[in-house]
Each structure stands twice: as structure tokens, then as C-alpha cells.
Symmetry: C2
Subunit: 344 residues, 2 copies
Amino acid sequence: MQARTHVTLEDVARAAEVSLATASRALNGTAPVRQHLRERVLRAAEELAYTPNAHARALAGATHRTVGVICHDVSDPYFAAVAGGIMRVAGDNGMLVMLASTFREPEREIAYVSMLRAERAAAILLIGSGFEDPDWERALDAELDPYLAGGGRVAVVSRHRSLKVDSVLPENRAGAAAMARSLLDLGHRRFAVLTGSQALTTVSDRFGGFRDELKKAGVRLRPADVVEAPFTRDGGYAAMSELLARGLDATCVFAVTDVMAIGALSALREHGLSVPDDVSVAGFDDIPIVRDLTPPLTTVALPLPQLGERAMELALTENPGRRRRIHRMAGEVVIRSSTRKVSP
Amino acid sequence: MQARTHVTLEDVARAAEVSLATASRALNGTAPVRQHLRERVLRAAEELAYTPNAHARALAGATHRTVGVICHDVSDPYFAAVAGGIMRVAGDNGMLVMLASTFREPEREIAYVSMLRAERAAAILLIGSGFEDPDWERALDAELDPYLAGGGRVAVVSRHRSLKVDSVLPENRAGAAAMARSLLDLGHRRFAVLTGSQALTTVSDRFGGFRDELKKAGVRLRPADVVEAPFTRDGGYAAMSELLARGLDATCVFAVTDVMAIGALSALREHGLSVPDDVSVAGFDDIPIVRDLTPPLTTVALPLPQLGERAMELALTENPGRRRRIHRMAGEVVIRSSTRKVSP
DNA sequence: GCGCTTACTGAAAGCGCATTCAGAATGACT
DNA sequence: AGTCATTCTGAATGCGCTTTCAGTAAGCGC
């Protein structure tokens, strides 16, 4: 690096012919400063294009207006939507958001928490399910504990087992159960499920809620009816293809995320099957795009941006008792055209 | 805020019974430290769950490993894809990304640059077209100049007029022209265009490239064939609806972004028109989802993640001569099923 | 004009770290 | 053993800012 000679508060003070302390007070309004002095300071700052050094500021005790957000992948519409909500309220509160994508590598998650800790971020938000390996979750706890002890705020979205930390929890189980009921009401009795790793609470809740509701109605899900695949469009495509390859014996396919459902739709189309005439498809999340698919996807709608907004608000809000606050958000079944009454 | 009593390097040094300086050197490996001392320091740091204070570090002269990214809206698939690329290379280089969404408000953009400047971010990346009002662009320059002077790095993606700063430029004009040629080759002669504000270079390049290429072929675009709307799905929907309301007299609709094309597709569908049988539709960008639409969208494919990657690389790369480096990236026409030969 | 309160102002003390500089310890040679 | 180069180590300084703390000047009543 080169000189990097920045304008400092001292330069401003000198130009305005006041002391450092007065300049600081004039700029921040932390204490009364006589009119003409204040003006001189403000003018000097303006002329010198002074920008306070956030590091010096944070070091000197002013609280740092930065929050960290960790998700799996911003380019996934689900995270993008949640992140959008977070950034909106962060922006409204004058906060800067540091966003990190782990690309589903636990090492990165830990590393990012550590960096965020080093940044003394005012809050850390973890979005989306954790990792399957309990060792990683423990390592995460170990990283988070001292942060919390040091006064840091942590909030998680859709991440169950996480320590005693503020949480925004979509009601995955109830939503999936409601979807199962809707599908049963349409007359479906033979189902297939496209799922992600069961080790993730989001998945096990959605899957469990769906399966249990079916069971209540006397409908069984055979192991062969359930395919596990990565949480991506291609994962959904692959899972659906596998199902198709072994001869699909279901009138309805439920994917635990919309993104997977999109892949499924594509596989079905390629296979010459019509949705919903030959088979119904339902998803979960209601990411914005699914409204515009053909056919528009039946899904469990989650208020994605609000998930992020609530989490950010929780993290920004004082929590005197240090109790774990949980904010549950219901999902709502939205029947669109990818599902239909089963033909008798 | 409360106590926030953090473990400091001094604590570690004391626990390891060495001096501050030695502890620092052992932890950073900036100078040789005798084996047994180093081990003691490392162990102490481990036990105390020490995390260096990034602010103190940055203040003391170590370069700060943080980059700022400003876009219009992360939840837009275009920005999400570019941001994904940025975050990938940032992560690989141990950098933390601060992402800000302006929601298309110029005040926010300026405010964010200022905050990023205060954070002494190693680089600032501006993604997407600037604002229409030249005053804002000037204000932005004024904010950026001292940053550059102070050794900061700035890179922009798809933002023409911006000062002498490293740029990654998709070839909007050429891409649109190529698309026009493809469409002409399919026999189309009557076109409609869905556009954003012409004041944005991205838009005027795409629109201009398209229009000029048509003109070369002797095909005129009447003002009534061009509708301007916001850069969103709903903008595209509204623009298409307007066109439809006045009686669409075109065999092919070109939208300057895929996101707008998605809205257009929806409006067309609602209006009972079939794509591509009644009308062809083409977009620009090739955001991931358009492959899965029905029909899959014909579009100009831009390597979105690479746009971000290149920009980040430019910003991370030393630029001794301080010359403006421009990295152009070509778009490629991808014909899918939303366009067809015009029926005679 | 004196004492007292109130309103500002400035000098100085850190915040936590990297780093310089001087000094101590070690080793290699004569 | 004595000299000198080499390798480590620690005390001290400063990064830019906020914030005490100890004033100084102004305002007021008498």
C-alpha cells in the first residue's frame, strides 16, 4: 500500500482553529458547541472532505454500526429475498451489512463468524439451516459464546437447534402438514417427496410434518417414494429424474423447497409429463419467481423478506433479560395451477 | 451497551508471560519467535478465545480486509448472480464483503459510499447503472475522489460514464444488436421494445444497439412501439399490458432485461396470447431462472457471476500506473423457445 | 465588584494493536 | 576468553477518535 494519507479530525480541528475535542463534539453533536465554532468546524470538514475513520471511532468506544449476515448462497432466491428484508431495515437504521456466503462449507461459516467477531459487529445473523455434523455446530457455538458474552447480538432465521439465541422460525412443520391436507383434499393418495438432507431441521420439519399428516390420513410414504438431493434446482431435477427413471408411481410430488420444485418441473417436462394433468407438484417457500412459472407453483408461502426484517429487528432491539426470544412465522398454503384434483 | 469486556492481546500476553510485542508476533508470524514462547502464546490465545480487534488492527496500520459492494437490490436475480461471483472471489481471498442495496435511491448510494469510506474498505464496487440525474453522479464523484486519492480501489460493473475507474463492461450494444439480427433472421419485421429509463447507459446501449441494427435492415421502431417502465417484473408486466391495451401490432417483443421479460410473459399469458405462437419474446441477461420458464426465454446471455469475479479481481489487483482498466465481456445470443420464425 | 452557577473549551488519557528501536541472549570465530 | 554478527525480546510510540477532567469565560444576583 501507498501513503494513504487521510484527512483526520486533527486536520479539521487545526483548519477550524479549535481543539480536537471541540471538533469532535461539533461534528457529532455530543455536546453543545458555540454556534460560530461549530460552523467553522463544519465548514472545515466539508472543505477537506473529511470522513471519520470508523475504526478509530469503534476503538474509541463509539458503538460500531455494522451487522454481519451469514447465509449459504446469496444467489439462491430464498436467501436473496431474506437478505433483502434484512438490508432494508439495516439501511433504515443506518447500519452497514456485511454479507457472507458459505457456499455450504462449514469451515467458511466458522471463519466468517470469527471475522465478524473481529470486526466487533453489533450483531450477527445466521440465515438458513445449520450443518449436519454436530461437531461443526459445537465449533460454531464455541465461536459464538464469547461473542455473546462480550455483548454481541445473535439472531438466527430458520435454524432450530441453535443455542439460546433470538430466532425467527417459519412454521415448517405446520406448513408442510397444511400442504399435505390440501393435497389430500384434492384426492391424492400416492405421493413422492423430494427432500434435502434430513439432518437439517428445516428439512426434517417439513418432511416430518408432511409425512405425519399423511399417516394420520392413513396414507403411507414408502422409502422408495422419497428421494434426497441437494437443495438446488439441479438437485430437484436429479431427484425427479431418478424417480422418473424407476417409474413414477405417484399422482403428486412434494418438494421441500421451491427451488427443488423448479428442477422437478423441468425434469417432468423433459420426460413428456404434463403438470398438473399427469402429476401435481407442490413446493415450499414461495420465492417470487414461482408465480410466473407455467404452471404457477402451488406452494407454502413464507413471508421471506419479513423473516429477514424480524431477525434484524430482534437483533437491533435491546434484550435486557437476555432471554431467548422466538418469533414464529406461519406459512400459508397457496394453491396455484401446478396441482389439481386427482382424476378418478 | 454494556461492559463488552473483550479478551485483548494484552490478556493473552500476560497469560503467556511474554510481552505484547512477542504475542503479536507469535500470532501473526510477522517475526520469528522461539518455539516454546510461540506455543505458550498460541495456547493462551486458544484458551482465552482471543479474537483480535479488527479495528485496532486497521488503526495500527495493517490493511483492512474488507470490500464494499453497492447494488440496487440484492433480491433482484441479476444482482444476486453478480454478487455471488464477487463473494466467491472475495471469500477465497479472505475478504469480508459489505453489501448494500440502494433500492434505487441515490441518497442511499452516496450515504453508503461515505460509510464504506469511513470503514476504510480496501475497495468499493459499484454494480449496475448509475442514476439519471447528473447532479447525483457528480456528488458520487466527489465522494469517490478523496477515496481514490487515499489509495482506495474502485471498480464498477456495467456503469459507463463513471470516472476513471476500473470497469467491467458487458457489451450491451453489441449484444442487443446481435439479438436484433437473430430476430430479423427469424423473419420478424414488426417489433415492440420494453425498456427502462433511457438515461441509464445500460438501457440506452441495449436499446440503441437494438434499434440501430433494425434500422440498418430498414426496419423502423415507432415511438408507440417502445414502452418505458421500471426495471422490475411488475414494470415489464405493466409495460406489456399497456402495449396490449393499445392493440399490440408486433410479432416480437424485446425486453431490455430478463426480469422485465418475465413480467411481459405473464401479461401475455393473461391476455390469452401464446408465446411464441402469437408473439415472440426475447430478453437480456440470462438470469438463471429463464431457462426454466415456459417457454424457456430467448435472451442475450451475460456471464453474470464472472462479471462480479472480474470486478473483484480488478479491485484486488495492484494497478501501479493507476490507469483505467476496462474489461469488456461479450454477451451471447441464446435462442430458446420463446422466439420462433414468424409465420408468413 | 464579588462570589457563584452555568456553558463551553482544551489537554490528556486511553481504546487494542503493529512496529520501531534498543537491548539481551545466543552462537560463531579468532 | 573476547569480539562481532545474529536472533529474539520487550518497552515505548502512534494510528484517529471519544471522553473524562480540569479548567476558563460568561452570566447572574447581591
